[in-house]
Symmetry: C2
């Protein structure tokens, strides 16, 4: 975070790479990332935001075309405040985003179902990040390859070194975008239900049903010749 500017504006933390844009961002913060609801669940702390982004691998990216919003799921990788997205050069999402239109990238991790005694106080335990920014296309092949490595290692560390890297033709067929996070906020809910005082006497089981992501046994490709051991980094993969 050494290159980042972290400033406090009112009760909001903001962070940005360019000091010159901080005041603008502080203004934008009010309308875009201000935590209106349940601010006790919210955070603008970069470490909190980065931890959630690093724990996830699937983002939902929003952009708007002629007033019509689109929300598209996509993998991503992170390096500091840059997020990398990739896909086919023909992808509508990437072609629109690379024009630098305003975008929103959201990552949500579900941790559990919060079962209260009243319907009203049911909730989820979750961690989410809503990040605003703009993307630009990476043209330089070396930079592009590096960004693809970031995405690959973000998804499954150790894989990149083992596989055949992208050919020139494959690089050309792939669009890679660098999404600069201009503002972001995190929301986290943890812990038990919070019921109304008078409801605690109700004879209803209450608590949290944890939800976890796990990996199943690796399914080897039928085209693989015998004698391939499953690599350690796959066996030890921690689902998120």
């Amino acid at each position: 975070m050494s290159s980042k500017v972290v400033l406090r504006s009112g009760d909001k933390w903001i962070f940005h790479n360019a000091a010159s844009r901080v005041i603008l961002k502080a203004m934008n913060l009010t309308s875009r990332t201000k935590l209106r609801r349940l601010p006790k669940r919210g955070s603008h702390d970069p470490a909190t935001i980065h931890a959630i982004l690093d724990d996830g691998f699937l983002a939902h990216v929003g952009f708007s075309l002629n007033g019509q919003p689109f929300v598209i799921p996509t993998l991503y990788g992170r390096n500091e405040n840059k997020l990398y997205l990739h896909g086919s050069a023909a992808s509508r999402m990437l072609r629109e985003l690379e024009g630098g239109i305003p975008a929103c990238l959201t990552v949500t991790l579900v941790d559990g179902i919060v079962l209260a005694r009243s319907a009203f106080h049911h909730s989820m335990n979750y961690r989410s990040v809503v990040a605003f920014g703009t993307a630009r296309k990476i043209e330089d092949p070396a930079h592009k390859t590096k960004a693809l490595q970031v995405i690959s290692e973000h998804l499954i560390r150790g894989r990149w070194a083992e596989v055949r890297g992208p050919s020139e033709a494959e690089l050309k067929a792939t669009s890679v975008l660098e999404f600069s996070v201009e503002e972001a906020s995190a929301k986290i809910r943890t812990g038990p239900p919070a019921d109304n005082e008078e409801d605690y006497v109700l004879q209803v089981w209450a608590g949290v049903l944890p939800i976890l992501s796990i990996t199943g046994a690796p399914v080897p490709d039928a085209h693989m010749s015998n004698g391939h051991n499953v690599p350690e980094y796959i066996l030890k993969y921690r689902a998120r």
Copy 2:
């Protein structure tokens, strides 16, 4: 599906409640839901779309304010082509959506990491639905309560009957929106990696690493008196 109009337009299936809007929707389909990329992974079949929506419980809802897109995670429930969303009456998302602005609701279920021999052919196995439509606020308390029940039962079937239902004050503090799906498309990827022919000889482990959602042991609320058994519908909950 008895009340639905299902029409085929070119190679696209569309479905809608109001026959009078079908042509409009068929036109919109071109720009919004046309499956540009990898159409073999895509579907406009209502049964496919509904099955994915029923398997998920978390949506990412996109809307745009003054050209700035927002993507917010939220729970939902489904009844036919209506999706129900809820939250605090103070929620920015719900207050914007209830004005009937164009919205996009996306549900993504990750099934596995597809590990190919080349970096280029890595992929995810997943099921996703991108639904376009508009929302309206449900004002009638009985309809509102019914919609909340749909959301609750969608999340965890059996819970609603056991808990204290919403009071008049709680209903007032809750906004419930009915999101009418006007168009939707599904994308599904399953199966092993598809490598280039010449890469099959590479000595790289290839296959699929399945990713599954499971529940952990229910965590009882510390405020609960002893003697509460965990209900069957919680023990038998199938994480999705």
